[in-house]
């Protein structure tokens, strides 16, 4: 009991998720139905995957604003390569992953070797990717994803949405790897103090490149999943993830200064953001209002985590 309480105090985001769910349930009892819960899990998966990758970028003390472009690029490429045919799934997925990782590697090289500020490197990369998607499609996207592939986004396994399972399994593996493998610990170390990490024999530049590659890889996975969910190409589908992924990570307790935070926190953060969105949908708030709330949420959670951190210090 006491341990459970402690766990909550250290993970206020889970408390926030629970509270928000209760409030949403009170306002709209439909939220409490199993199918609505499963539905929320299903759509959280996309943001959840992208945000898991974003967590790593923030943990190394950076940020990855190119995830939006990567998701869009993945969606456009996957649909145009699959053309609705099952036998094309494998090559399409492989190409998307390869390109995504290549983008991540370039981001990493810009940040680690050319010392470009991460926000500028990835913001510019995002514009390049969006432009590339426009040029590639000529403004009119084409193709569709294969029926078998769509099962990932639309189907369910043992009554649970397949997309949610994909997200949770992959993200939990990542969470474990971050805490318990050398590579994960190196990522935390580089984020907390890059110079010291270098002095401890950590190949810091390689770790940075790897971190941005992982971030891009997870954006590709999120992009594939949302493609499987909607089945069609859609220019600018990634744009919704640019802010939301950062919000989810920050709400999940990861600090912008690097080296502090967790993927598990981000899982909760993604749930919170999605819950909030569906809550505001129920409340019939406009898209504009949702952006406003999202912005307030970013500032608010940074402040809350600082207050918690400082009170822990004085104890």
């Amino acid at each position: 009991m006491r341990r459970a309480f402690n766990a909550l105090r250290h993970n206020p985001v889970w408390v926030a998720v629970a509270l928000l769910y209760c409030v949403a349930g009170l306002v709209s009892p439909a939220m409490l139905k199993t199918e609505q819960v499963l539905n929320i899990l299903q759509v959280t998966a996309f943001l959840g995957l992208v945000a898991s990758g974003q967590t790593i970028a923030l943990l190394v003390g950076g940020i990855d604003l190119s995830v939006a472009g990567v998701v869009t690029m993945t969606n456009i490429l996957a649909t145009s390569l699959m053309m609705g045919q099952n036998e094309r799934i494998a090559p399409a997925v492989a190409i998307c992953i390869a390109l995504g990782v290549a983008v991540g590697i370039i981001n990493g090289i810009l940040v680690a070797f050319l010392r470009v500020a991460p926000i500028i490197a990835t913001l510019a990369m995002n514009a390049i990717l969006f432009g590339a998607a426009l040029v590639y499609t000529g403004g009119a996207p084409f193709g569709s994803s294969a029926p078998a592939f769509n099962q990932l986004g639309q189907g369910s396994v043992l009554g649970l949405p397949a997309s949610a399972l994909c997200w949770l399994v992959v993200s939990l593996i990542l969470a474990y790897a971050m805490r318990r493998t050398t590579l994960g610990r190196w990522i935390y170390a580089v984020g907390a103090n890059e110079i010291a990490a270098r002095f401890m024999g950590v190949p810091t530049r390689l770790v940075l490149v790897l971190a941005y590659s992982l971030s891009a890889l997870f954006a590709v996975l999120g992009g594939l999943l949302i493609t499987a969910y909607i089945g069609n190409p859609s220019l600018g589908i990634g744009n919704q993830f640019l802010l939301a992924s950062v919000v989810a990570v920050v709400v999940g307790g990861t600090a912008l200064t690097g080296g502090i935070g967790s993927v598990v926190g981000t899982i909760a953060g993604a749930l919170f953001v999605t819950l909030l969105n569906s809550f505001t949908n129920i409340a019939q708030a406009s898209t504009g209002a949702q952006y406003v709330i999202q912005g307030v949420l970013i500032a608010f959670s940074v402040i809350i985590y600082r207050v918690i951190g400082e009170s822990a210090e004085t104890r």
Binding site: L123, I128, V135, A196, V250
Partner: protein
Amino acid sequence: MQQEKIVGAEVPALELTDIQKSFPGVKALKRASFACRAGEVHVLVGENGAGKSTLMRIIAGVWKPDAGTIAVNGQRVEIAGPQHAQSLGIAMVYQDTRLVPDLDVSQNIWLGREPGGRLLVDRKAMDDGAREILAKLGVSLPLDVPVRDLEVAERQLVEIARALTSNPAVLILDEPTSALDAAEIQRLFAIVAELKRQGTAVIFISHRLPEVFAIADRITVLKDGEVVGTVDRDAINHEQLVAMMVGRELALAYPPRAAKVGQERLVVRDLTSPGLFRDVTFSVRAGEIVGLGGIQGNGQADVVRGLFGLLPHEGTVTLDGENAAFATPAKAIKAGFVYIPGDRHREGLFMPHSIRENISLPHLAGWAGLGRVPADREQDELRRAMSSFAIKAHSGEQAVRTLSGGNQQKVVLGRWTIGTPKVYVFEDPTRGVDVATKLEIYRRIRALADAGAAVILVASDLLELIGLSDRVLVFSDGRIVDEVAGADATEERIVGSAVDANSPDAQAGDIAANISVQSNSAAPAAAASLPARNVLGRYMAPMLLLGLIAILSFATAQFSDFFLTSRNVSNIAAQVAPLALVALGQFCVIVLGGIDLSVGPVISLVTGIVSYIAVSEGGAGVVEASAIALAAGVLTGLVNALLIVKLRIPDLIATLATYSVVFGLALIVRPSPGGLVSDTFLNVFEFSFGSVPAVAIVILVLYLAMELLLVRGRLGQRLYAVGSNAEASTVVGINIGVVRTAAYVFCGLCAAGAGLIVAARIGSGDPQAGATFTLSSVTAVVVGGVSVFGGRGTAIGVLLGAVAVGVMQNALNLMQVSAYYQYIWTGGLTLLAVAGFSLRLSARRNRR
């Protein structure tokens, strides 16, 4: 001489009586009393944490005492703040220099107190005054060289000169020698003697005893927040002073030297790294501690960093007979060569992480490759490391940040009790730890040697180096110039051989004379040649950019006859105007080291606002719309400033938050493009003189005004100072919160202004109208040669950056390139500019 002083100093220049000061959990000062006379050098000594710094900060007005009185020239005063202290004639030179690297010598000397009018500073008065003060110090420095290009010792001179601008009666020097070599210390002492002769009361803080005896008239000893006593220098000897400081003799502190040493373990032959060290040859035996000494910065630290794989080098290195020329720290560690750097905060610890994570980090690859870390093994090793170094903590999961300095240092050292390294390199292993921990660390280091390791010690504290080493190698100018057995080593011998080996004009004896000779010859030449060079330096990036724009225009003109027509040029001007305006705001933020992502949505929001208000024909609503729009911009800037300055949220995340909020508002105002802006509004903002758009002229004037303010105005000094070194700016009394707030508000205002221009151009409201401006404003700024790290850049460069973007856009349009490519080349151009800037920066760093 002694007599004179006492007679002339019946009323102390500064007197503190029964000062008390507490911090949460600590009594820093307990009824401390202290007096300093005019024309004396009063040295304050004491261990770390004795209360010296607290006392000095109270005198300098940084902190207020809880109780006690302060009197200046016999008059009782309450010091309200640093500015007040200065007006009372008290000036302080801080231990770590607080200069602004990107401002030049004159600007640094006068920072926060520049002579001149309200808007502009009087550069001539600044230079004249600076020259006069430097002459008083007997030195000469080029006045318009950025401080970043000066040596450490020269920077300190600038800092002292700055303290003297207020003509202080009391000058406080807080450990001024810690970063200086012997020759520079001699020069500093000559300056202090000169100030003393001119009647200044100098308070000198130090804990290097030989220095204390060399310079003091009187000495006050502080211990645990209390004054142990004040004595004349001639009335006390070295041992007695030490006894006063620590309450016991320090002679027993060092563990006995090695009785016998084993065979050679580390053999270094002809190690060379151009510019840092050359032909370094030595060996370290099992059980031996070899000290690398000499004057700081003569290659000792570089040699060990080279051996550890952090610097490229040539030569042969063997460890136990095997090749040990390591290319990376990882390889060195794997081979059993470990390096424990001196600056634990910067180079040794991961503050937010647990003791466990800190200790096991370098061993992870050895335990697990890249894979799973064995938890049991990690716990076992952690327990052993913690107990063998007696680290005091609740558990291994406690964050290192929460430990005391001594315990933090134990974590740094305890890390390497895991495994059996063959060679240990310690750099200043006892920096900033208390005496008890110091002794324990000495014993540990000796124990490691006794167990058969080869130990290299690099220490800036010569007594520590001598006390601990079996052999001392003396470095000078990157070479080993002397070798002394530890038992025979003395400070005199080490400093002597280090200095003798240097070029003859740097001999310790008559340094002071030397400096003044140099100053006479160097001054006129430097003054004559510099202005041209600096104009060139400042406008290098803009001139390059101008060339690029010319080439681009020329090339485009070959493709299209239309390009150079006055109609197209006025087109370009109209296109560039909004971008240039936002970029001006973005520049002010970026030069402070920040960024404002919210500018794009502000533009969108403004078009939305305008499309509702400035709609009726006949002119109604134009003023209202403009006022509301500008107010929205100011408000966004204020919110940004509130989040960043007051709530200390990083600029990136704060403006991302406002980006989201303002974009949301823009969507609420105008969910989709629509509305029709009145012709009156269009006529106002699209007005042009002939073919020159009026807004373009206004913006050009704004840029020229900004450039003037940057070069000669108070504003420029503030912007560059805060962007380059916020802490230094605070110390001289610049309110950085105000400067930052002003920059964000100005940026919001510029964005709103740009929004009005955009609204006039598209003639309606559009929630996406500003979408591309966030990136393109940053593009214009970085292409214009502004450093994203703050402190550097010109307004003219930014204007040209915006023009370059506009011309490029126009050219591609004329060449019928799809508008879709715009995203790609803006992104690419940004990356090129920023990467190019950082490459240039690192090339410059390598050259030095």
